[in-house]
């Protein structure tokens, strides 16, 4: 009963709170006011239900009970565990996934292939950011700047020097690494929240430079007529070349996943995770913080560079408005939703967040609203993300040379 009362008070409070912005609509031309009380009432009802759920979630969280208990036959953790441990199941799953992904452009329309390409590009970006934010724990808010640098590398080198896609792909990656290091050096000393703000400033400076440096970057108009990637000089129509780009991105994503998986368990990867857990302890253990931080920036930024080059080739037209802070925030929310440090989680989250609004048209307006809400809700109830990043654990037996090893 008390809960219902609390929820009712919350509903009333939010109805009052949203009264001006949600409830008043001005018609400047006709000089009239439209009061939208229906919306306020609907919101109140929504908040009432939400407040009950909210309260319920917090009681469960406080009591240490899982918020969502899956039915007995469907235990997500067990399924994941099974995939991790049973080789046959894993290979089977991968084969099925491969068939679906490879066959996709044959059955889907041109439009759907295009959506899939951009979803895969975001997967790449999210995985790259996952290295910096998820593994190394350095909150970078200007990640999209590296994406922009990659895209403009291809656009501008092509415009001024006529370089092709395949020449620009490594150059773009290399340049973004340079920029990553250039950003990394001065910010080495900064703590979490200051780092976030400085990188945000960096992202905005890159965007504003692209926007204002008219003579070189074309200003707000951007760069147009960027050629699509060639395939040994074959001429392709737009559908064929889209399919080609699809496979290219798919290959790039697979390479990214393989490299990052390997990286995670390497010396550098472990150092990154140690840095995330505790900077001082990490340094005390003899890890060179400077080198580790710089490698985090370099490793994280290069994927954005590659993704940027591919993006420029896909859209054939780039301008600064594609690289706003909102993009960085979107990529960040993918990492947050998926689970910081978790590769599978980030891939799934990126696909959900890009594909769901495309196919559920009714939601597409609410996309950014949802992204913001997801970031808050995940932090409150499940900070480790959908699939929490697995930690490498050792069994005592492994140390004695017995079977087992990693678990």
């Amino acid at each position: 009963m008390q809960r219902i009362l609390k929820a009712a008070i919350a509903a009333l409070w939010f109805m009052l709170l949203t009264l001006p912005v949600l409830g008043i609509k001005l018609n400047v031309a006709a000089k009239s006011v439209i009061w939208r009380f229906d919306r306020i009432l609907a919101l109140g009802a929504g908040i009432f239900v939400l407040a009950l759920i909210w309260d319920w979630c917090f009681t469960r969280k406080a009591a240490g009970i899982k918020i969502v208990t899956l039915p007995a036959g469907f235990n997500l953790a067990e399924i994941i565990e099974a995939f991790r441990n049973r080789r046959g199941l894993r290979l089977g799953g991968l084969a099925l996934l491969a068939v679906v992904l490879l066959g996709m452009p044959m059955v889907s329309s041109f439009y759907q292939t295009n959506i899939m390409i951009s979803a895969l590009l975001y997967v790449m970006l999210a995985l790259g950011l996952n290295i910096v934010v998820g593994l190394a724990g350095q909150l970078v808010l200007g990640y999209v700047a590296f994406y922009a640098i990659g895209a403009y590398t291809y656009g501008l080198l092509n415009q001024y020097f006529g370089l092709g896609f395949w020449a620009c792909l490594p150059i773009g990656g290399f340049l973004t690494v340079l920029f990553g290091l250039g950003l990394g050096f001065p910010v080495l000393r900064l703590r979490g929240d200051y780092l976030a703000i400085v990188t945000l400033g960096f992202g905005e400076i890159v965007r504003l430079t692209l926007q204002n440096w008219n003579s070189v970057t074309g200003g707000p108009r951007g760069v147009s007529d960027i050629p699509r990637p060639g395939f040994f000089g074959m001429s392709m129509d737009i559908t064929a070349s889209t399919t080609y780009i699809y496979y290219l991105v798919l290959a790039a994503v697979i390479i990214t996943i393989v490299v990052i998986t390997r990286l995670k368990n390497s010396r550098v990867g472990l150092a990154l995770q140690a840095l995330r857990e505790d900077e001082i302890a990490c340094e005390a253990m003899g890890v060179d913080i400077t080198r580790v931080k710089l490698s985090a920036f370099a490793l994280g930024s290069c994927w954005a560079g590659f993704a940027g080059v591919i993006f420029a080739a896909k859209t054939t037209y780039i301008n600064p408005s594609s690289f706003t802070f909102m993009e960085s925030a979107m990529i960040l929310s993918m990492v947050v939703l998926g689970g910081m440090g978790s590769i599978a989680g980030v891939v799934i989250a990126a696909l959900i967040l890009i594909l769901a609004p495309e196919y559920l048209r009714a939601f597409s307006d609410y996309r950014m609203l949802l992204f913001g809400a997801i970031m808050v809700i995940m932090m409150l109830f499940r900070p480790q993300g959908l699939i929490s990043g697995e930690r490498r654990r050792y069994r005592i037996g492994a140390l004695h040379g017995a079977e087992g090893g990693r678990s």
Binding site: I24, Y194, A196, F202, F325, L369
Partner: protein
Amino acid sequence: MDIQFFIELFFGGLTRGSIYALIALGYTLVYGIIGLINFAHGEVYMLGAFTALLIAGALGVYGLPAGGILIVAALAAIVWCSAYGYTLEKVAYKPLRGAPRLSPLISAIGMSIFLQNYVLLAQTSDFVPFPNLLPEMDFLEHIDYVMGASDFLILMVSTIAMVLLSVFIRYTRMGKAMRATAQNRKMALLLGINADRIISLTFIVGSSLAALGGVLIASHMGQVNFGIGFLAGLKAFTAAVLGGIGSIPGAMVGGLVLGLAESFTTGYFSGNYEDMLAFGILILILIFRPDGILGKATVQKV
């Protein structure tokens, strides 16, 4: 050098700087108490501008005199923004107290995006004209090339607000409690200060200042948009850091310095790089002198 042009730029910078200072105070107060960059503070400023616009519009339709409308609208903006700030803290930050440092920051970024899109969806994505409600000020006639009615209003109101805030922090019981909480929250708790209430109060005070800034800038610029909070918030944060975050006089000085710097750059060089200047200053300050102009020794927390 053209002295008149210089004076013009100087007052332009002062006006702009006062607004930055008003918003920067909100950042500094919150940072001083809970050590969090309240990323959504810029959005509260934007909400203030919008609330004032909508209330003023509604009152205008029902035919009230212009001067009265401005005051009512400003008061409404302050009340509602305080409520927004209070709710923001309760929903997005309070449950995360004691969580790892990055969690509340990510939550704050999420809130910022959420609030922007809330206004976008509830109202419009276009720039909305803000009604001109300022009374004629005849005594400004001779200097109207440096100072219009809105500039005068901004300077007056922000000065009064800052003086009031300083008095509040320095001499009232609640102000003392705020300073104590900022210095050492545990100790303050032991002395019987309700820290939760003080934190809420900090958000309310910061949000009302931001709302005031929003109303002033809306009547100065004459238009409002859902996105104005992002850039203004960042610049105000720059101002807060410039003056030394956590320090109240620092935020005021930082705001004025940033405003003047922007105004002179725009006037003598080019307006294209105005926004970049703020970010450049922010990065340089954070790297070379993270304690800001007023330095660590003189930092007076909240």
